[in-house]
């Protein structure tokens, strides 16, 4: 379970949000500038809230009263960024393996093979990210986040840079992840059609505030 109760002021922008999500995929849904990415960055530990509390499972990631602020590298949260952010100086294989090496996890060739096959990135392993297409890049980024064995997966508009064909190619991977791997997911998007397919629960945002939380029926409201 994920509990987020945070306040953050960034220049002229103020964010104040409270929501909890059980297992499944929670969509942060709203127009650009609503503060969706800021929330995801707060959960990942890339920015620090001014006040509040973030709890994942039975671990407190942040609590300003208890003076707890777990560093990003200790949170074990997988993050797929909008632009992929693959490391340009490493091959795809090294990119995929990065999280496992940094977290000191045992090498598991069967798991790597399974994820490489699921994402269909086997032919790319020896290449460098520079010349990959947008869709290939996002699949590698997803594989990299999965292979660190995260306890929560953050997806920040992972399809925004892609055209409709590529989107259709990647969406099924997210569905399989949600249904087969039972991976808790926080999915950021401003596209209703994406959210409809991925999310089991919706947190609707606007201008730094949460305007509604609920099920898929919020999309038709």
């Amino acid at each position: 379970m994920l509990l987020v109760d945070v306040e953050k002021n960034l220049g002229g922008f103020s964010l104040s949000a409270l929501f909890a999500s059980e297992s499944g995929a929670t969509a942060l849904f709203g127009p650009s500038g609503a503060g969706k990415t800021t929330i995801v960055n707060l959960i990942a530990g890339l920015i620090k809230p001014d006040r509040g509390r973030i709890v994942l499972g039975d671990e407190v990631l942040f609590d300003n009263k208890m003076r707890i602020n777990l560093a990003a590298h200790k949170r074990g949260i997988g993050y797929v960024f909008q632009e992929g952010r693959l490391f340009p100086h490493m091959t795809v294989a090294r990119n995929l393996d990065y999280g496992r090496r940094m977290r000191g996890l045992a090498h598991n060739p069967a798991e790597t093979a399974r994820i490489v096959e699921m994402l269909d990135i086997g032919p790319l392993l020896a290449r460098r990210p520079g010349k990959l297409s947008g869709g290939e890049r996002q699949r590698v980024a997803l594989g990299r986040a999965l292979l660190m064995r995260p306890r929560l997966l953050l997806l920040d508009e992972p399809l925004a840079a892609l055209d409709a064909t590529r989107k259709a190619e990647i969406l099924p991977y997210f569905e399989r992840l949600r249904d087969e791997a039972k991976m808790p997911i926080v999915y950021v998007s401003h596209q209703a059609d994406e959210v409809k397919r991925i999310a089991t629960r919706i947190v609707r945002m606007d201008a730094g505030r949460i305007t509604a939380t609920g099920g898929l029926e919020l999309l038709s409201a």
Partner: protein, 231 residues
């Protein structure tokens, strides 16, 4: 004409050794200072920036004289080093390396700093979400991405150290076999009658070394560049 005398050989190998030690010795501090200037805001940052660049604009003889005052056997730091570690820098080749390192330091820091500033910090964020602490982020992401700047800085530093004259001769004098570098040897030969041939040989050697260093750095930078952006 290119038959070198033992003294000339000594000057050449000594120059190379001094430049190499100066470059490698300056590297750790250069990395630290470049990183601080590129990434941190702190009180006295402008002062540090100024201090680093000072040897570039001061007359070299002034830098050499300041080194002599500080690191001479009676200088504050020099006396301390000799008392505690038995290290003497004045009029030794190690002192020449120190003078070269100080003079070349700005040329090492500048390209490194620019490289650090050019790195997409979002990549460092991505690495930290994948479990890398600050040190590992630096070693596996920042430093490899700054490699072209590191190579450029080290080559500039080496080339400057190889040619340094004013500060070196002021601090450690011009002692054949100990502190007489190629530059100092050329200067000496031009001061004595009939020294033109020897000076000419060393001038040619100096040009060759500089050219090789430049070509090598260009090649290394290109390789590092394709590593970063290629397939």
């Amino acid at each position: 004409m290119l038959e070198l005398t033992p003294d000339e050989w000594t000057a050449i190998t000594l120059s190379l050794r001094i430049a190499l030690v100066a470059t490698l010795g300056a590297l750790p501090l250069g990395l630290l200072v470049a990183w601080l200037l590129a990434r941190k805001n702190f009180w006295g940052k402008a002062l540090l920036d100024g201090l680093v660049h000072l040897p570039l604009v001061l007359p070299p003889v002034v830098t050499g004289y300041l080194l002599l005052i500080a690191f001479g056997r009676k200088g504050i730091i020099g006396a301390f080093l000799e008392r505690t570690f038995g290290i003497v820098l004045a009029f030794r080749w190690t002192g020449a390396a120190l003078a070269c390192a100080v003079m070349a330091f700005p040329l090492l820091v500048r390209p490194l700093r620019l490289s650090f500033e050019a790195i997409d910090r979002k990549l460092e964020d991505a690495a930290s979400t994948l479990g890398a602490n600050r040190l590992w982020v630096f070693l596996t992401i920042s430093l490899p991405l700054a490699l072209p700047g590191l190579i450029a800085g080290m080559v500039l530093c080496f080339a400057k150290a190889l040619g340094e004259f004013g500060a070196t001769i002021t601090f450690v004098s011009n002692i054949p076999g100990e502190t007489q570098t190629i530059s100092a040897a050329i200067y000496t030969f031009t001061q004595i009658p009939g020294g033109d041939a020897a000076a000419g040989r060393l001038v040619i050697i100096a040009i060759v070394i500089a050219l090789v260093a430049l070509v090598l750095s260009e090649w290394l930078s290109r390789r590092a560049g394709t590593r970063l952006h290629g397939e």
